[in-house]
Amino acid sequence: MFISIKRLISLGVVILLTSVSMLTMGPKAVQQGEAVEPDEGNDKQKVAKTSDNLPEERPIAFVRRFKPQVNIFNAAAGKFAEAEKAEKLYDGDTLMTGKDGYAAVQFMDKSLTKVKPSSLLLINGSVDNSTQSNSTRILLKAGEVMMDVEDRNRGDFEVATQTSVATVKGTKFGSSVDSKGSSTHFVLEGSVEVFARESNQRETITDGQFARVSQDGQDIETGQLEDDELDQRQKEFDDFDKKLESKKVKFRFRGEDGEIREIELEYYENDQQ
C-alpha cells in the first residue's frame, strides 16, 4: 500500500515536529508558554515523588482513546512520553494534546473527559478505598475539555483555570481557556457552580447556560447558549471520536546489497493538510 506525496509530506512533518517537541520543548511550547507546575492546586493526597524506587501509586485515570499527538508528563518520573491506549494517569500528571491531537480520559469512577486539540491540563486526584469515590481536580491551562461526570461523584469533581474554579453538581459540561486567559464553562446537563478566584464571586449555571470569567478573575458573566451552539459544541467532540481510525502505510526500501526491507507506519488523517 502506498500513499500520495502530499500525505507523505504531512506525515513526515508530524513526525519531525513531535520529535523536536519531545526533545526540547515539553509543555512550555503550548500557547501560554508557562512552565509546568505539577503541584499547583494539588491539595489532595500526595505521594512522595522520587525518580527511583517509586512506591506503587494508584492511578486516577487512563487514556481511553486518543489520536496523535498526545503527550503525558509523568510527575513522578519527571519526563514526557507519548500517550498510548490504556496509559495510566497519576496524581500530578500533565496531559497535552497537539495541534491535531485528541484524547478521551476515563477516571476510576467512569467519569469521562474529552480533550480537544491544543489543550494542556494537569490532573490531580485521589481515591477513597472505603467509599470507592474519586476526588478529582483538573487544572485546565489551555484549550477545551468536555466532561461527563458519574452521578455519584458529583460533589468532588472540579475544573480549575487560572481565574476560576467550577465545581460539578451535574453531569455533562465543558470548560475552555482562551489565549487571553479568560475561562468559559458551559453546561449540557446538570449544574455547575463557578467560582471567580480573585473576587470570590460565585454563580451556579444549569442546562444550556454558560459562565465566562474575565482574565483578571474578577467578573463572572453568565448567559444562555442557543441550542444550535450547544449541539455544535457537543458535535465537535463527537467528530473527534469518529476520526480515530488509523491507517497504515508501508515503506519498502532496497538496501545496498539489494535486500528488501519493509517498514509499516500508522498514521491518522487530519483536516488540515
Partner: protein
C-alpha cells in the same frame, strides 16, 4: 502467501467436487473427542462430527447432560454449524465434580444415532469438572469473605455491551484496604485464557488491549491470586461487533440505559441429496434492547422446511423483563421448574415469573403446548384369509382385516401443559418450593381410527382394496378391524415440593425434593363412571365417582392409569368393590447433602423413585430405583491435583413386586492434574468398576454346558411343574479412561494437542453372547499461528468394538483436517474441513435351535455361521466463507459435499452437495 494458501484450498475443494463420483449412506456414526477436563471458566464447547450427514437430514439434535448424582438428564438443543454439531456446556462447578452427557441425533427418516453408541443413558461420557478457584467459603465471592473485600469498578467495556474491535480496552480498578488482605496479584482471563502477562496490572488497576480478538461474545474474568489459590473478583461478558450507538463506540451515551441491538439473517440454500433437488429459504431475527427499567429480547426463525408432519421448525420467542422482579416470555422456550417435574423441555406458550421481596417470594406460571398435533396417515385396509382347520370336508377360514400407518404416517396428539411453582426464601439459609404441572393430550386434536365406524367417516380411500362383501361385513362387525400402532392420548399430573438449606456460610448444603406422579395411558373415555365400572364388573359408588369427577381437573382417572389408585375388595354381592388408596409406586424423592471442609467436597445422596413415577415433561427420570451415592472430591498441591472417589449402590424392584431385584454397585476413582503453567500437560485418568447382579442363577434342567448359558429361557422345576424363572443378571464392567492435553509452541505456532483413550469391557456371566469390549482412541491437534491469521485442526479417531460375545464387531477409523483463515484485515474468514471415515462392520446373527420341537423350554441360541460384512468409506468436505461487506453487513457462503462409497456393495451413486448463501445485518 496468505492469498496463495486460500487459493490452493479452494482448488483442492473444487478438484474433489469434480472427481468424486458417488453417494449416500443411511447409517451415520458420531465422532467426538471428549475434553480431558471441563473448567467452568472456559465456557466449554462440545463438538460432534457426523461424516456424511447434511443439514437436510437433520430432524433434531440434542445433548443430554447431568451433573453427578442427578436423577435425570437435562437436554439442550445442539446447533449444526460448519459441518459439526456444537453446543456450549454451562456447568456450575459448585454443583458437581463431574458431568455426564450423551449426544442424540434423529434424522428425518426416523433413525436415531447416539454417542456413545451403546446404551448412552446408562454409559454416558463422563468428564471431570475442575475449578481452580478455592471452594473455601472464606475465599469465595460472597459477602463478608475475602473476594468481597475487594471492591471493583468495571471501567471498560461495560457488561453485555457491544464494542468495535478497534475501540476495545479492557480495564478495571480495585478498591480495598491494604491491611485487610494479604499480598497477592490480580490476574486477567479472557475467554478462559490467562492473558495477565500481556496486560498491564498493578495493585489497583488492570488494563489490557488485545492484539487480536474475534467477533462475537467474549468473557472476562478477574481473579486475585494468593499463595496458589485464586479468588474470583469480577466476571462479565461483552461483544465485539458493530457498536450499539450509530455514530461512535465511545460517546456521552456511554452508560445510557436505552438501546436496541440485534441481527437479521436471510439464507438461501440449494441442495441435491440422493438425487433429490431442493431449495430452502430461512430467515432469522435476534433483537434485544432496553428502555429504562424494561429489557426485552425477540428471536424468530422461519424456514421453508416447516412441515405439518413434523414438530415446529419455525421458532419464535419474545421476552420482557422489568427490573429484577418480573419476567414474561412468550413463544418457544426451554423451561426449567424442578428436576422431578419440568426440566429443559421445549414449550410453546407463555411463561410468567415474579420475584418479590429480594427473591424471597417467587412465583412461576407456565401454559402452552409441548407438542403439536400431527394427523395420522393410514394405508388402505388389508384383508387376509387363513385356513385354521376343517369341519367335515369344509375348511374353516379365519378372516383378518388390518390397517397400518403409511411410512412416517404415525401422528401425534397435541400435548398441552399448564403448571406453576411458588417458592419462599432465596436459599440463604432456606428455600421452600412447591411445584405442580398438568400435561394432557388433546383428544380432539387427532382423529384416530379405532374401528371400522371411524373409517367410514374419513375422506381417505381406506376401503379401496376391499370387496363390497368385505365392506358389508365390517359395517356389521366394526370391531373386526384391527388397527396396529395407534398411540393413545395420555394425561399426567405431577406435583413436588423441594427444600434447600445453606448453613455455616454455605459449607453445608442440603437439598431435597419429594414428588408424586399420576399417569393415565388412555384418557379417551374420560374419567371412570359407574356405568363404565359396571361394564368392567366393578362396583363404584357415587361418592367415589364424584371424587373422580373433581379430580379430572388435575388428572383423568380411569382403568387405564399406569397404577390404579383403587383396591379391589369383594363386596357382599360378589362384585369387586373399588376402594381408593394411595399406591406407593407413584412417589419419588431425592435428597442430597454436601459438605465443603478442608478442601474436600463430600456429597451424599439418596433417592427412591417408584416404578410408576413418570413425568411427560421430563422423560429422562429413571424409575423403579433406590439407593445411595457417596463421593468425595478433594484437591492437592494448591488446586493442581483433583482426586475423586465415589461409590454408588442402586437397586430396582423398590416395591418388591418382581421376582428378582437387580443390584448395581459402582466404584469410581479419578485423578486429574491441572497445572497452573500452560507448558505442562493436563492429565486425567479414571477407572470405573460396576457389578450388576440379581442373584438369579442361570438354570435349565434340559440344557447343560455351553448350551445352558445360551438358553433362550431361564427355567426351573418346582415339583412336577416346569416354570419360567427370572432372567439372570450377572455382569461385571471395567471402564478405563485416560486423557492428556498439552499446549506447546513450535516456530511461532501455538498448539493444543489432546489425546484420549478409553477402554470398556463387560463380562456377562449369565449369557454366553452378552459380553462387550470396546477400545477407543482419539487425537486432536489445534494450531494457532502467531504470525499468520490462520487456525488449523487435525483429528484422528479409531474405535474398535465387539459385542454379543464376539458375534458383532465394528471398526471405525476417521481422520479430519480443517482450518480457518482470516484475510483482508479480518473482513474475510474462510473455513474448510475435510473428513474421511472408514467403517467396517461384521456381524453374525443368532438363531434359535429348537432342540426337541415338542419342548419349548430347551431352546437355545446358536451362531448362524454366516458372517456379514459391510464396509463403507465416507468423504466429507465442508467449506465456509464469511465476508464483512460493510460495518453492519456480512455475507456468508457455505458448501457441503458428501460422498460415501460402499466397498462391500461396490456401488456408485450420485454425490450430495449443498450450497448456501446467507446475508447478515447487525444493528
Amino acid at each position: 502467501m496468505r492469498y496463495g494458501t486460500a487459493t490452493i484450498s479452494i482448488s483442492v475443494i473444487l478438484l474433489l467436487i469434480i472427481c468424486f463420483p458417488s453417494w449416500s449412506a443411511a447409517q451415520y456414526q458420531v465422532q467426538h473427542t471428549a475434553p480431558t477436563v471441563i473448567n467452568p471458566e472456559d465456557n466449554s464447547t462440545l463438538r460432534f462430527s457426523v461424516p456424511g450427514i447434511s443439514r437436510s437430514d437433520i430432524q433434531q439434535a440434542y445433548l443430554y447432560y447431568r451433573t453427578e448424582g442427578d436423577v435425570s438428564y437435562n437436554q439442550q438443543q445442539v446447533d449444526y454449524r460448519q459441518g459439526t454439531f456444537q453446543t456450549k456446556l454451562d456447568i456450575n462447578s459448585d454443583e458437581s465434580s463431574s458431568v455426564e452427557y450423551y449426544f442424540s441425533l434423529t434424522t428425518r427418516d426416523g433413525n436415531r444415532t447416539t454417542y456413545p453408541e451403546q446404551n448412552p443413558s446408562d454409559q454416558p461420557v463422563r468428564v471431570e469438572v475442575v475449578d481452580r478457584e478455592s471452594k473455601d467459603p472464606d475465599l469465595k465471592n460472597k459477602e463478608g469473605t475475602l473476594a468481597a473485600k475487594i471492591g471493583y469498578n468495571i471501567l471498560s467495556p461495560d457488561p453485555d455491551k457491544r464494542v468495535s474491535r478497534e475501540d476495545l480496552v479492557i480495564a478495571a480498578t480495585f478498591f480495598y484496604e491494604d491491611t485487610t488482605i494479604q499480598k497477592g496479584s490480580f490476574q486477567l482471563h479472557l475467554d478462559g485464557q490467562n492473558v495477565t502477562s500481556e496486560a498491564q496490572t498493578s495493585s489497583y488497576f488492570l488494563s489490557y488491549v488485545p492484539e487480536r480478538i474475534t467477533r462475537g461474545s467474549h468473557r472476562v474474568k478477574i481473579v486475585y491470586e494468593r499463595n496458589g489459590s485464586r479468588y474470583k473478583v469480577a466476571e462479565w461478558s461483552f461483544e465485539i461487533g458493530t457498536p450499539d450507538t450509530e455514530t461512535e463506540a465511545l460517546s456521552f451515551q456511554q452508560g445510557q440505559e436505552n438501546f436496541t441491538s440485534g441481527e437479521v439473517q436471510f439464507s438461501a440454500r440449494d441442495q441435491q441429496v440422493a438425487q433429490s433437488q431442493d431449495d430452502i429459504l430461512r430467515g432469522r431475527l435476534r433483537m434485544r434492547g432496553r428502555q429504562g427499567d424494561l429489557r426485552y429480547s425477540v428471536t424468530g426463525n422461519l424456514t421453508t422446511q416447516e412441515s405439518s408432519r413434523l414438530q415446529p421448525q419455525n421458532r419464535f420467542s419474545a421476552e420482557l423483563r422489568y427490573q429484577d422482579w418480573a419476567e414474561l416470555r412468550a413463544g418457544d422456550f426451554y423451561e426449567q421448574m424442578s428436576r422431578m417435574t419440568l426440566s429443559g423441555r421445549r414449550v410453546r406458550g407463555v411463561n410468567a415469573e415474579l420475584h418479590l421481596n429480594g427473591d424471597n417470594i417467587n412465583g412461576m406460571f407456565v401454559y402452552g403446548r409441548m407438542r403439536r398435533s400431527v394427523p395420522n396417515l393410514y394405508q388402505a385396509i388389508q384383508s387376509s384369509y387363513d385356513t385354521v382347520g376343517t369341519t367335515g370336508n369344509q375348511p374353516i377360514i379365519d378372516s383378518t382385516y388390518s390397517m397400518s400407518f403409511q411410512n412416517q404416517g404415525r401422528g401425534a396428539y397435541q400435548r398441552k401443559i399448564v403448571g406453576g411453582r411458588i417458592s419462599f426464601g432465596d436459599r440463604t439459609p432456606i428455600r421452600w418450593g412447591l411445584n405442580a404441572i398438568k400435561v394432557q393430550d388433546d383428544t380432539n386434536s387427532v382423529d384416530p381410527v379405532n374401528d371400522f365406524l371411524d373409517v367410514t367417516s374419513r375422506p381417505d380411500r381406506l376401503t379401496s382394496q376391499l370387496t363390497n362383501e368385505e365392506i358389508q361385513y365390517l359395517q356389521q362387525n366394526p370391531g373386526a378391524l384391527s388397527v396396529t400402532g395407534t398411540e393413545n392420548p395420555k394425561g399426567n399430573f405431577v406435583t413436588s415440593t423441594d427444600l434447600s438449606l445453606n448453613l455455616d456460610q454455605n459449607r453445608i448444603r442440603f437439598d431435597t425434593e419429594v414428588g408424586v406422579s399420576m399417569l393415565n395411558n388412555d384418557i379417551n373415555g374420560g374419567y371412570l363412571t359407574q356405568e363404565r365400572a359396571d361394564d368392567l364388573g366393578l362396583d363404584l359408588d357415587h361418592s367415589t365417582e364424584d371424587i373422580l369427577s373433581q379430580l379430572s381437573w388435575f388428572i383423568i382417572v380411569n382403568e387405564n392409569m399406569s397404577t390404579l389408585p383403587f383396591r379391589y375388595d369383594q363386596s357382599g354381592s360378589g362384585d369387586s368393590e373399588l376402594q381408593p388408596f394411595v399406591p406407593m409406586g407413584i412417589f419419588g424423592g431425592r435428597s442430597e447433602a454436601r459438605f465443603y471442609y478442608f478442601d474436600h467436597r463430600l456429597r451424599v445422596q439418596y433417592r427412591w423413585m417408584g416404578p410408576d413415577y413418570r413425568s411427560l415433561a421430563n422423560s429422562t427420570i429413571r424409575r423403579d430405583l433406590s439407593g445411595f451415592n457417596i463421593s468425595d472430591r478433594f484437591n492437592l498441591l494448591q488446586n493442581q491435583i483433583f482426586v475423586t472417589l465415589g461409590y454408588e449402590r442402586l437397586q430396582n424392584n423398590v416395591l418388591g413386586t418382581e421376582d428378582a431385584t437387580t443390584t448395581t454397585s459402582t466404584y469410581r476413582t479419578n485423578l486429574s492434574w491441572y497445572p497452573v503453567r500452560s507448558d505442562l500437560p493436563r492429565i486425567s485418568a479414571g477407572i470405573r468398576l460396576r457389578d450388576r447382579g440379581n442373584g438369579v442363577e442361570r438354570t435349565n434342567p434340559f440344557l447343560s454346558g455351553d448350551q445352558l448359558f445360551a438358553s433362550v429361557r431361564n427355567v426351573r422345576t418346582t415339583g412336577s411343574d416346569t416354570v419360567v424363572a427370572p432372567r439372570p443378571v450377572n455382569a461385571f464392567t471395567t471402564q478405563l479412561n485416560f486423557s492428556i492435553t498439552q499446549q506447546f509452541e513450535v516456530a511461532d505456532i501455538l498448539n493444543d494437542a489432546t489425546f484420549n483413550v478409553s477402554y470398556l469391557k463387560t463380562d456377562d456371566q449369565a449369557f454366553r453372547y452378552g459380553g462387550v469390549e470396546s477400545m477407543s482412541y482419539s487425537f486432536q491437534l489445534q494450531n494457532r499461528y502467531t504470525n499468520l491469521p490462520l487456525n488449523t485442526r487435525i483429528g484422528f479417531h479409531l474405535n474398535q468394538s465387539e459385542s454379543r460375545g464376539g458375534l458383532a464387531s465394528f471398526d471405525i477409523y476417521g481422520v479430519s483436517l480443517g482450518g480457518t483463515a482470516f484475510l483482508l484485515d479480518d473482513k474475510l474468514e474462510l473455513s474448510g474441513r475435510l473428513a474421511y471415515t472408514r467403517n467396517t462392520q461384521k456381524s453374525e446373527s443368532l438363531e434359535v435351535n429348537q432342540n426337541k420341537v415338542t419342548n419349548v423350554f430347551d431352546n437355545y441360541y446358536t451362531r448362524s455361521g454366516t458372517m456379514q460384512t459391510e464396509e463403507n468409506n465416507t468423504y466429507a468436505v465442508n467449506f465456509n466463507a464469511r465476508y464483512q461487506l460493510a460495518t453492519r453487513h456480512s455475507l456468508v457462503a457455505l458448501a457441503d459435499f458428501t460422498n460415501v462409497v460402499s466397498r462391500s456393495a461396490n456401488r456408485s451413486l450420485p454425490n450430495d452437495r449443498i450450497l448456501e448463501l446467507r446475508y447478515i445485518f447487525e444493528f
